[in-house]
């Protein structure tokens, strides 16, 4: 079963999903992405400045989602591609994020491989296209 995200909930996260807007903790200086109410690093800072992340990073870990394992919102993609890679990317500003990897190299994905964020359709539900970021080999 897929994790349904309502349109208003998706809408609230548009700046972070479309252009990686995160927040720098004014207390410890670490970058939180996605934004939090309290800094996840120092557990004390609650005031932040907005920062737009570069989208550059490296592959920290990855897996391949086979057709049968795809959540329903990705079923059409799985039908078309057979399987697709999902990566944990360590961004150069520090945070680790999870996303799909597009155009994987023919020789396979490697840990530490440099990647950059690209703007893609994540899935479509209720006739509404959910755009967001994926990664591509840099």
């Amino acid at each position: 079963m897929g994790a349904h995200i309502s349109i208003p909930m998706y809408q609230r996260a548009v700046p972070q999903r479309y252009r990686l807007v995160g927040q720098r903790c004014l207390k410890c200086g670490k970058v939180n992405f996605p934004p939090k109410a309290v800094c996840k690093y120092c557990n004390a800072g609650f005031e932040f400045e907005e920062v737009t992340l570069s989208g550059r990073g490296t592959v920290y870990s990855y897996t391949i989602i086979a057709g049968g394992g795809a959540p329903p919102e990705f079923a059409e993609q799985a039908h078309c591609q057979g399987s697709y890679p999902v990566v944990v990317v360590e961004l150069e500003e520090g945070p680790r994020v999870i996303a799909q990897l597009v155009d994987p190299p023919p020789a396979g994905i490697t840990i530490g491989m440099p990647v950059r964020a690209v703007f893609r359709k994540i899935y479509e539900e209720e006739g509404v296209i959910r755009y967001g970021f994926k990664f591509r080999p840099a």
Binding site: V14, R19, E76, Q77, C80, V102, F119, Y131
Partner: protein, 335 residues
């Protein structure tokens, strides 16, 4: 006030379909392409638009972008403000004048000229023009064989050195049955009579180009490059020659053979390619076309070199993965 292009960006999808795939699957290919660009399952004209625009605005003060115009014959929604997606994805300011152009492949230069007009009228510093297109026809339609996908974006500036827009000229006529899509349908069609469609193309584009040369008191020989809308290469080259241009002026701007028919992008994508081979003082002539029908001819002069881009057009053409015709049909949601 002068209007100049000060930077630009190009996006080509990674996937390519070779002409031989059509020949192997269907016995023939009606398009004289070598290969064409194909959007992946998670791409549409908006995702391509964002990628091209991000390259064009790199290093620009986004607070000074006060105009945004878009062009596509194939937006992912038939009704919705598409500029909203762009503004959020790029982080543009919300007080921005917008223009959405569509309904024919003329949309590309329409968006370009309306951005120039809005820039003059508003007193803003920069305008962003994004042309992103991926025309769609049914798998059984012959015209489908050439349909590719691409996006290009231009930053226009008021009173700044760059690729200056020297003048433009338009020709609009009624021509029936050529590349049309009735309301509510997803796929374009035409009546399939090539001599008839070529005649309309030649007359309309020819009139716009001749009108522009007359208006500016210019001769074909005064241009380093000419780029006309590319439905197929033979017709484009024949018309350019008939208008008095030579091979060396025509060849650099031909992108059709490697990307296919990119609709509203066609002539502007050719412009992006020749810009890499242009030196200050060179003039460029662009002629767009939309069936039904109209053409806009634009005259440019390069005053100073545009900022270098991280990837040349050639690098984009070589960054690719070939797919099979079966995979292509899956991407088209035909099977």
């Amino acid at each position: 006030m002068s209007i100049s292009v000060v930077s630009y960006g190009v996006y080509l999808p990674f996937l390519r379909l070779r002409r031989e795939e059509y020949v192997n699957a269907l016995g023939s290919c009606s398009a004289d392409i070598k290969e064409k660009t194909v959007m992946d399952v998670d791409e549409d004209t908006m995702t391509m638009a964002v990628e091209a625009a991000r390259k064009a605005v790199a290093g620009l003060d986004l607070e000074r972008v006060g105009v945004l115009t878009l062009a596509s014959t194939s937006y992912p929604y038939q009704e919705k403000v598409m500029a909203g997606t762009i503004v959020e994805a790029l982080g543009l300011r919300k007080n921005i004048l917008t223009g959405h152009h569509g309904s024919s492949t003329l949309a590309g230069t329409e968006a370009f000229l309306s951005a120039a007009g809005l820039l003059v009228g508003s007193g803003e510093k920069y305008a962003l023009v994004i042309v992103s297109d991926a025309p769609v026809a049914g798998a059984s339609a012959e015209m489908e064989h050439s349909f590719g996908a691409a996006a290009c974006a231009f930053v226009l500036a008021a009173d700044e050195q760059g690729l200056e827009l020297e003048g433009f000229y338009s020709c609009v006529t009624e021509s029936l049955g050529l590349r049309f899509r009735p309301a509510g349908e997803k796929e374009v069609r035409d009546i399939g009579v090539r001599t008839y469609s070529n005649q309309a193309y030649n007359e309309t584009v020819g009139a716009a180009v001749k009108g522009l040369l007359n208006k500016l008191g210019q001769k074909p020989a005064g241009y380093r490059h000419v780029i006309l809308h590319q439905n197929d290469v033979r017709t484009t080259v024949a018309l350019a020659k008939k208008l008095g241009f030579g091979d060396e002026q025509i060849q650099e701007g031909l992108v059709y053979g490697q990307v296919g028919d990119t609709g509203a992008c066609s002539s502007l994508l050719g412009l992006c390619r020749v810009l890499e081979k242009t030196v200050p003082g060179d003039k460029i002539l662009v002629g767009s076309y939309g069936a039904g029908g109209a053409s806009q001819a634009l005259s440019f002069k390069l005053n100073c070199r545009l900022p270098g881009r991280s990837e040349s057009f050639q690098v984009l053409l070589e960054d690719k993965k070939y797919i099979s015709y079966t995979h292509y049909l899956k991407l088209k949601r035909s099977i």
